[in-house]
Point group: C2
């Protein structure tokens, strides 16, 4: 019974996601959905990512949180347009749904944007189930979280196009087996690109930014 | 529409939770619901908690994960009976629902248990909405997660009876303002007991174990 109800919600969501995808495509906007646990360092990662992409790639951000505008306030300092979504206005939702993204995007001038980054609600389960009309999905794991998260939350890793292992500056202080973490990711998705990064020090960002630029460019080439 | 559907699921859950609470109460079992983000160190915390409570308090554990039995395998080494629930059997649920706890508890001999600890699915949103028939709820935050999680995920902190700040052994390596974290918790719940602990070194466990024993004892005294 519960599963049936959820199925209906997901069908409505998929229809809205297709509308979003069509609208973003018409304006040539690439949409990246960034997902993770709470506290994996998504916002710090995006602060540095925005500063490295600008001004070559014109970015905007939609930030999802159950409550507060802390992350949006931080990201707005980059100069990129930022829209904060608080899901407590939608019953405290644990994810961003496609209709929420559609509404938030209407506050942005899509014709002035190349890349729209969506910072999803911190949650390794539910956001993986909701298509928002994105072109690519990445998952951020902090190396403080333990190696086995990919096999415990397999859907998230199955639906993502790349994984980032963040906070590698802390590795000397942790009993963390980064090779085991990579093994668990590849157990779920054998060809997953994996980037070891520190949003704090910038280590590893060159490879991540190169992948992101290439991924965004591949779509505009395909569309041209 | 979406909210109405969720409301119906929660009503069914509340009825099942009341059944669980009645069944646990009859057997004199205290139920503790432990919630957190993925990777906050719940399992390590419970490993040490079980070893400090035993043999004075007879414990059992129900462990929830979307997939794998990694945590149950670790906790079973304590000698306590452990039941693993994989929510991917229930559509990949992001929380433990009351009916799932009722089914899992039927695998335990409740007459031989004083304290049933439920390690919920790693998620700061959805588990806060589902009463499972517990007597107390605690939330575990890792100091690697950033200080502002309590205000970003307010419901979780509102419904909990105590908060644990785990991994304090890492504080020397982090830019973490533990006073700010406590302030954010108290902004949501002004009288919340907060325990700073390290599941790795055991620091801070005396106060946490003392609180837990007192909380469990208070219920048996009230029932006697």
């Amino acid at each position: 019974m519960e599963v049936k109800v959820v199925r209906k919600i997901l069908d409505v969501n998929d229809a809205m996601a297709a509308q979003n995808r069509n609208a973003f495509g018409k304006q040539g906007v690439f949409v990246l959905n960034v997902m993770s646990s709470p506290g994996s360092g998504k916002t710090a990662l995006l602060e540095r990512t925005l500063s490295q992409l600008s001004p070559e790639i014109r970015c905007a951000v939609i930030v999802g949180d159950v409550a507060t505008s802390h992350d949006a306030d931080r990201l707005a300092k980059s100069g990129a347009p930022v829209v904060q979504v608080n899901t407590d206005a939608f019953g405290g939702d644990c994810h961003l749904a496609a209709h929420v993204i559609g509404a938030a995007a209407s506050d942005l001038d899509l014709s002035a944007i190349d890349l729209l980054i969506v910072e999803n609600v911190g949650n390794l389960v539910c956001p993986a189930e909701f298509d928002i009309g994105e072109d690519a999905r990445v998952v951020v794991l902090s190396v403080t979280e333990g190696e086995d998260k990919p096999v415990k939350y397999p859907l998230m890793f199955r639906v993502c196009d790349a994984a980032l292992l963040n906070k590698i500056d802390l590795l000397p202080h942790l009993d963390y087996d980064i090779a085991a973490a990579r093994g668990y990711i590849r157990q779920i998705k054998s060809d997953m690109p994996i980037f070891d990064v520190s949003a704090k020090t910038g280590e590893g960002f060159d490879a991540w930014i190169k992948w992101l630029k290439k991924t965004v460019a591949a779509k505009s080439t395909a569309a041209a």
